[in-house]
Symmetry: C2
Subunit: 459 residues, 2 copies
């Protein structure tokens, strides 16, 4: 035992649930404050979500965008990181109940557990159309994308081969746009010389969006530029398109009055999110109000009504006190909310009052592919190469702030020069390896294996 515990038992105890952008920035902001902080996460690392699609598409490795929470906070001697899962809270007794150890008492509670995929009541689609939230999700997407080309190389039935080379991304938000653009680059650049029996540039990449344009929250101009850039990359963008069914290897969708079905081996979900489990817990225990996505309605200071010692930040929070729409679920909002709440609590201990939370929006960005992006910033709108450069440096800046992930910049530079993808491994998780036996009879041997003229040379 080191004696941090005993030294600090008399200090107010701040419990933070979730080590994403919101929770982590809250924890960081308590450095040197007269408090004892416990950060609880079910994973041992902070994940740089905005680049997760680059793991899913073979550009980066998980470790490039993940930093152990303990490393980021190792110099914060007043902070303990716990790898655990919160199962319940008692706001009256001010207790948090954990899966692996006894409850913790708190003086202030910060809930930052974010959101997960939302299949709009069609959770059965999850296996056929995985979403992108965790490292495991990304590795699974990577496996499916690159395995599709491998399977196509072995496939002799032309129709099946085309289905194997058809990729559908559902959802035209930033993640969907980034995924579709990256898959197009894989097919048309990264792997195009690597196969002998298929032409990967024949791959079809479709992006489905329900609204009348992709990137709906962005200005129309940005949406148009993004669509143009995607089409240059051979992505088939379908707007006003509602997915009505997803089955093994096919997607059914409605456009206006007609309903169509397309055979696609790889279907990726980037459409909706819903609040994580803690949202419901807070509603049940504190009577907090939830919005339609299950996010928690918060007060102007991000606390809960009637519970000034419980705060909700990041994607899980619905902050409706600024502008006509709630603040978007993006990293910069979560970081600012985390810093704000940490500061509020520290000031409160000193008996001071702080102003309500106010978010200064610097704008939003989405990357479509190499040299292609849209940036809608408060000092101007950019697209193409300039937007891409802004995007690259904005992300490098954050990554380095965390954990000196210079490696990412080097990896990007290298990929940029070589048009290659450094992380194209198809890995299995152990639980899958049983499934490797194919039920079907193998097909006839490929032509190159039944040449005549074997006898012409004796080896």
């Amino acid at each position: 035992m080191n004696n941090t515990q005993t030294k600090q038992t008399s200090l107010p105890h701040i419990v933070i649930i979730g080590g994403g952008f919101g929770g982590l920035y809250a924890a960081k902001s308590f450095k040197d404050a007269p408090v004892k902080v416990t950060l609880i996460d079910k994973r041992n690392f902070h994940l740089f979500q905005p680049l997760l699609y680059q793991v899913a598409t073979g550009t980066l490795s998980p470790a490039d965008i993940a930093s152990p929470l303990r490393v980021i906070l190792s110099k914060h001697k007043n902070t303990q990181v716990l790898l655990d899962k919160v199962v319940d809270i008692d706001p009256e007794a001010k207790k948090v109940f954990l899966k692996d150890r006894d409850e913790l008492d708190y003086d202030a509670l910060i809930v930052a557990t974010g959101v997960s995929h939302h299949y709009f009541g069609n959770d059965q689609w999850q296996d056929d159309a995985p979403g992108l939230k965790t490292v495991e999700d990304a590795l699974e997407m990577r496996r499916r994308i690159f395995m599709a080309f491998e399977a196509a190389e072995k496939e002799t039935d032309l129709e099946k081969r085309q289905a194997l080379l058809t990729f559908v991304v559902v959802g035209g938000g930033p993640t969907g746009v980034e995924l579709a653009g990256a898959i197009a680059e894989i097919a048309h650049q990264s792997v195009k010389n690597d196969f002998r029996d298929i032409d990967t540039t024949q791959a079809k990449i479709l992006l489905f969006e329900g609204m009348d344009r992709i990137l709906p929250p962005y200005p129309e101009e940005s949406s148009a530029k993004a669509q143009e850039a995607l089409e240059q990359l051979n992505v088939d963008v379908q707007t006003k398109t509602l997915v009505t069914n997803i089955a093994d290897n096919s997607v059914t969708f409605r456009q206006g009055d007609d309903t169509k079905t397309i055979n696609a081996h790889t279907i990726l979900w980037a459409a909706g999110v819903k609040a994580s489990f803690m949202g419901k817990v807070l509603a049940d225990r504190t009577g907090a109000e939830l919005d339609r996505a299950g996010r928690v309605m918060v007060e102007p200071d991000l606390s809960l009504k009637n519970y000034s010692d419980i705060f909700v930040i990041g994607d899980l929070a619905n902050f409706a006190h600024q502008g006509d729409r709630p603040l978007p679920g993006v990293a910069p909002v979560a970081m600012k909310e985390g810093e704000y709440v940490a500061n509020l609590i520290t000031k409160r201990i000193e008996g001071k009052i702080v102003e309500p939370f106010k978010y200064k929006d610097f704008g939003s960005m989405a990357v479509i592919g190499q040299n292609k992006a849209v940036a809608n910033l408060n000092f101007g709108r950019f697209s193409g190469f300039i937007a891409w450069i802004i995007w690259v440096f904005a992300h490098i800046y954050y990554l380095i702030e965390f954990d000196n992930k210079l490696i990412v910049m080097i990896q990007w530079a290298w990929n940029y020069i070589t048009l290659g993808r450094g992380a194209r491994l198809i890995t299995e998780n152990p639980s899958l390896q049983l499934e490797i036996e194919p039920p079907q009879k193998p097909e006839k041997s490929a032509p190159e294996t039944k040449e005549p003229a074997k006898e012409t040379v004796s080896v």
Copy 2:
């Protein structure tokens, strides 16, 4: 489609099974030779095995030491890579039978499928003491090693906590030595400031070796230096130690006449290897003789007795025609064997004869930790920093030869300066796999058609 197929229909067909060092170097050596080459591997990447322990201990990411076979061979237009598994061969009909397609005919067959773990008849130990052969093995080891510290931080029972902080590596060969050294560095350097309730420098790391010294094949001097270096890193080296039982969280071992049991949460297996499945297939089908580990006894030209068109190379081969012991199962031997066989086949086609295989041994190396290694080279024996530098550059050299893995050198340099470990993620943990469980689509869509539509597409 490219037309390599049709251009080459009259060329002799070389089938290579396995994309490790042996198979890959054989394939590379056929570049521009008047042959058609098919390289079959069940994974889509070549794995740089000698550095796998660095993935298991959080220094490197899988992608840093894995290169897609298609990328390495993309310029070899006479070579096709197939992601598939060989289930049987017919040496009389000169056929190889695959899992996902029908058989392939060959004019020459090169078998390079290597070895796997060997638990000396105690396969039930596998779950409690995983070995290190695949990327998945390495990620599982990484998960267990770093999870042990996390669990210890939460554990309040002191005895259980000590078991969680006890690591046993079984087997004092290079892999065991490298694992034990790296785990000691994790506990005493990388994570020592990251926990609040445990002192990670109290961790116990034990290395068990059955013989009277670690690194038995090395000169005694190197063994002694290696043990000294390990002890400096706080590794408890136990020689003449035979593991008699492994159960969940405990290892029972015999030393002379006494039998002891130690509670250890993390037990890693680096003790034995046995020949892969193809060894038995070759024995059954060709009557090839196997050694006690199941490796195939080969002729002086690495072919099989009575089957001059079948060659076995790499770890699967027992080449007993040089020195008093068979050649060791290391990468340099496999590479040279691959190059030799490719050259022999090419020469044979020209009607030329080649000399029997002869291996020029440059010596062997093992790394114990930062600045610590032993190198027993034919131009001298080194230890400590010089040996470590030699080791680093030898490995960088090979990595770059494959696939410009400069990133590894940068990662190493960074870790060297920071004493950090960039890849400390705990992933693939079983609870999460339940959330994923994707179907193995490529198999699902495996073709049934008997009609090889290939002719129409490949020309």
